[in-house]
Every structure is written in structure tokens, then in C-alpha cells.
């Protein structure tokens, strides 16, 4: 199985959820409709042919001034098929919110907290969503592009 087949199968299973399939430098990116994220992630982990057992990385990206402004990027990896897959969801600039994937991969615990800390993206369903690197009383979200570089 190669990445093109993976993308094909996901598209077949979730025809409406996959908005776009991108390929660049041998990597495949699926742009996902935010409301379908959780069911799609479960499928990717549990389907024996997909078997994406690793959530390697999860992070936010700010595309100011573009709208939808934020993206949450998920890097998956399968120890069985030795493939990597990238998922992306786009979120609006005001009140960005997305379902937590903690119930699928526990690795999301701290990574979602970090994305919340740095971008102010809320992960609904996360058991303990609070700042992780900055102090609790910190104002603002430092990795947003409109956050001042100097204090």
C-alpha cells in the first residue's frame, strides 16, 4: 500500500470529509472538514489497512491575514505500513475550536495544550485544557502572527 492508495481509500470512505488531497516532496496532505475529524481519525487508527497507530505531531499554524486563519496540523505515522500522513483542518480567526483527538491518541494531551497555549485554539473534549509552557495568567497567544515580537 502506498500513500496514493491511502488517500484514495480515505476519500472513498469519507467522500464529503476530504476537501483536498495535496502532494509535495513525497508527502501527502489531506485537508479535512473540521466536523469529521474525530470519526476520520478513529478510522485511520483502527482500520487494519490504515493502522496509523502513532500521532507523531500536532501543531497550530497561523495564516493571518488569510481566512480561515488557523490550521491545526496532524502528523500521523504507521508502524505497520511505515507510511506517514498529514491531516489539516482550517479554523476561523474568531473563536477557533476543534474536537480533541485525545480519545484516539493520548499523545495529543500535551500537544493540544501547547497549541492552545500558543494559538488560543480550543480543543473540545480535552480532559485538562490549560496553558502548558506559559504561566496561567499570561495574556495573549505568542505564536499568533499579530503578537508583538518585542514586549
Amino acid at each position: 500500500m502506498d500513500l496514493a492508495t491511502v488517500a484514495e481509500r480515505v476519500k472513498k470512505k469519507f467522500p464529503e470529509a476530504v476537501l483536498e488531497v495535496g502532494a509535495f516532496r513525497g508527502e501527502t496532505t489531506l485537508q479535512i472538514r473540521p466536523e469529521d475529524l474525530l470519526s476520520l481519525c478513529r478510522f485511520l487508527r483502527d482500520d487494519p489497512e490504515m493502522a496509523f497507530d502513532f500521532l507523531i505531531d500536532l501543531c497550530g499554524v497561523d495564516y493571518l491575514p488569510r481566512e480561515p486563519r488557523f490550521q491545526v496540523v496532524y502528523h500521523l505515522c504507521s508502524t505497520r505500513t511505515r507510511l506517514r500522513l498529514r491531516l489539516k483542518v482550517s479554523l476561523p480567526g474568531t473563536d477557533p475550536k476543534i474536537a480533541s483527538v485525545f480519545s484516539v491518541w493520548k499523545a495529543a494531551d500535551w500537544m493540544e495544550r501547547e497549541a492552545f497555549d500558543m494559538y488560543g485554539i480550543a480543543f473540545t473534549g480535552h480532559p485538562d485544557l490549560r496553558r502548558i509552557l506559559l504561566t496561567p495568567e499570561w495574556q495573549g497567544y505568542p505564536l499568533r502572527k499579530d503578537y508583538p515580537l518585542r514586549g
Binding site: 508527502e27 507523531i56 501543531c59 494531551d109 500558543m118
Partner: protein
């Protein structure tokens, strides 16, 4: 006091066994840990934000300061990401030297881990032995790039300069004697009764749980999961060398120790093979858009000087797009996710820090264990707070 007559104990951030500024809030029932909550961020420097405002070359010294006991591997993961973004091929000699130094770095990182971890548990002697060999490696790094901990030696497209004279001989000498030194460390610990009592069955995590928590590196392999990126998804020519991926059985503190001890022997073997097969040729890709001109030409020709000046001040643009590149660092999977908007600076510079994600599983590993086990487990995960906090 916590709920139900439990006691809250604050461990760190100024505590020698937390390996830096890590604070763990322990809820205790007597000496038993009911809940452990790590508190991190004391060393946060906004490194990812800093990098968004630097050219691609200027980011290399930043990466030294992530996992500061393994600067070479940090450099490697980053330059691999930029090279992937550019679609740049690196000459074989540069690749071989990168592997050589990464494996030496793995040995030195594991040795520092061994010394401090054993010291935490009460064994003083291994620290002195381990630092002795680690110093040999750091001395080699100093010969190569003038720096022991913050090399910044790898460049986009290759290396800053070729290996100095005498380095290969020194490397060979090291590989000849190193295995006997590992035997020395193992005599002190592997069958030591106190060591076994303190480490066996402590901080256990199953393979399935370890994968679900995103654990990588020796911590994952100790849980009997043969997953090593050097084998699974080879980079920088690792497919050319023969080595095995050691695994443990029980996923406890002892197995993490055993896996790392076997790993340094394998790394030593890779170092020997690289030295035997060392290819000749260029150490930089032939791509003037991103690669600095040779130093001797910069000193003689005005065109090369301008070229150098332009690259150093303005950097180079990269194609718009996004890439993720990762390596098997001494701590686990170290990855860089770069988003480029087509300019000379990364739009997004994301580090996938292995220590950060490995540490997030600490509460699971210490729950229901004694407070003295917390020290052993933190040590066994092998964390570097500079990488966790960034």
C-alpha cells in the same frame, strides 16, 4: 493537604534529580504516588517564534539549543527538513560524516544519561567513567568545529568544512577501546543487586500504551517495540550500514537502561563502518543558490565575497510548501515541520520534540509507585528541559 488525606508534595523546579527545571506536583498517600502532574515551561524562550524571524541558515544555531547534549542530531534534523523543502541532494561524503557525528553524538548523549541516571539512583562511580569517554567525543567535536556542545556544524547542502587532519585516526582509536569501556559500566550496574531492585518492574509501560502516548526512541524500544527511524525510514544513508535495533521486554526502567547500553555498542559499530567506508569528494552540494562559496575563494575573489555576503545577510528563498523531516535522535523522533511562504524565512517552524512527548507519559508510569521511584523513572525517560520548553 489534598483530598482524602493525601499530601501534595512539590518536587522541583530546583531539584537535582529532575534534570533541569522540571517541576512535578505529587499527590501522595503516605509514600505512594496517587497522581503526578508535571509542570513545565520554566525554560521557554519562544524559540519557534524566534525562528520565524530568521533566515534558514540563521536558524541552525537555534537548533543547537534544543537538546543541548545532542547538538549534532538537532542540526541534522533541521537541515534535512530544509533540504527536503529545497529538493537538494547532499554529496555522499557529507552524508557519511553526518552519520559519523550523529552516532558519536548518540554515544555521548547516552553516556551523560547513564552517568546522571545512575547517580540519581545512588551509584556514583558510573558518572566518572561515563564522562571520561564522553569527553573524548566532545574533544573530537572541538577539533571539528571548535565547539563541544553547540556545534552548528551542518549546513543546508552539506557541512561547514571538511574533517580536520587526524580526526579519523582519533575516531578509530575510540572505536577500538569503547566496547571495553561499556563492559566497565556494565560491571558496575547490570547485575548489581541494588540497581536491579531499584529499576526492575519500575515505571512499566506496555508497547501498545507507549505507542498511543507517542513515545519514541529507547523508551519505546524498551517496551519491546522494534521501531527505529534509522531502519524504518532511513535518512542520510543509514541503509548502507549494518546494525541491529536492540529492544527490551518489560518496558521498565531496567530495560530502558539495557536498551541504551546495547545501543551505544551498535553506534560504535556504525562509527567503525563509516570510518572504513568513508567516501571522498565534495562536502557541499553544488548549488550556489543556497550553498556558501569555499572560504579560500571568498578571500581572493570579489564575486565570491559578494556571493557569501548575500547568502549571509539575505539568506535564500525556498519554494512555497510544507515539509516534515525527522530523525532518530538519542531521545527519540526529532522532527521539524516547516511551512514556507516562498520567502527567505520560515512561515512556521515547528519542532517535534521527543522529550516533550516522552515526558507527557510520566504520570502513567509513576502512578501507584513509591516516591523514590519517581526519581528513577524521570531519569530513565532521558529528558532535556531545553527541548521540552523551547
Amino acid at each position: 493537604m489534598g483530598d482524602n488525606n493525601t499530601m501534595i508534595l512539590n518536587m522541583g523546579p530546583q531539584h537535582p534529580s529532575t534534570h533541569g527545571v522540571l517541576r512535578v506536583i505529587l499527590e501522595l498517600d503516605g509514600e505512594v504516588v496517587v497522581k503526578a502532574t508535571p509542570d513545565i515551561g520554566f525554560l521557554h524562550r519562544g524559540l519557534e517564534k524566534l525562528a520565524e524571524n530568521k533566515t534558514y541558515h540563521q536558524c541552525i544555531p537555534l537548533t543547537d539549543r534544543l537538546d543541548y547534549v545532542a547538538g549534532m542530531t538537532n542540526n541534522l534534523a533541521y537541515v534535512l527538513a530544509v533540504e527536503k523543502l529545497l529538493g537538494l541532494e547532499v554529496p555522499p561524503r557529507a552524508q557519511a560524516i553526518r552519520v559519523l557525528l550523529s552516532e558519536l553524538q548518540r554515544i555521548s548523549s547516552h553516556l551523560l544519561w547513564l552517568g546522571t541516571h545512575a547517580h540519581d539512583i545512588g551509584a556514583m562511580t558510573p558518572l566518572f567513567y561515563a564522562l571520561r569517554e564522553r569527553d573524548e567525543i566532545l574533544f573530537m567535536f572541538e577539533m571539528i568545529c571548535g565547539s563541544r556542545l553547540t556545534p552548528s556544524y551542518f549546513r543546508v547542502g552539506g557541512l561547514a568544512q571538511d574533517l580536520p587532519e587526524g580526526l579519523e585516526e582519533k575516531g578509530r582509536e575510540f572505536t577500538r577501546t569503547f566496547n571495553a569501556h561499556v563492559d566497565e559500566y556494565e560491571t558496575l550496574l547490570t547485575k548489581n543487586k541494588i540497581w536491579l531492585k531499584r529499576t526492575q518492574g519500575v515505571g512499566v509501560i506496555s508497547a501498545q500504551e507507549a505507542v498511543n502516548w507517542g513515545l519514541t526512541g529507547p523508551n519505546l524500544r524498551a517496551s519491546n517495540m522494534p521501531w527505529d527511524l534509522r531502519k524504518a525510514m532511513p535518512y542520510s544513508g543509514y541503509e548502507n550500514y549494518e546494525f541491529i535495533v536492540p529492544t527490551g521486554k518489560n518496558g521498565d526502567v531496567y530495560d530502558r537502561y539495557r536498551v541504551r547500553m546495547m545501543e551505544v555498542r551498535q553506534s560504535n559499530e556504525i562509527v567503525r563502518q563509516v570510518l572504513d567506508k568513508m567516501p571522498g569528494g565534495a562536502i557541499l552540494a553544488d548549488d550556489p543558490r543556497v550553498v556558501y562559496p569555499p572560504k579560500d575563494r571568498v578571500q581572493e575573489s570579489i564575486e565570491s565575497l559578494i556571493h557569501h555576503f548575500h547568502l549571509a545577510s539575505a539568506g535564500f528563498p525556498t519554494p512555497a510548501g510544507e515539509v516534515y523531516a525527522s530523525i532518530e535522535s538519542p531521545k527519540g523522533e526529532l522532527g521539524f515541520y516547516l511551512v514556507s511562504d516562498g520567502t527567505n524565512k520560515p512561515w512556521r517552524f515547528r519542532v517535534r520534540p521527543p522529550s516533550f512527548i516522552n515526558l507527557s507519559a510520566l504520570p502513567v508510569m509513576v502512578q501507584g509507585r513509591l516516591i523514590s521511584d519517581v526519581v528513577a523513572v524521570i531519569g530513565s525517560i532521558d529528558i532535556v528541559l531545553a527541548e521540552i520548553d523551547r
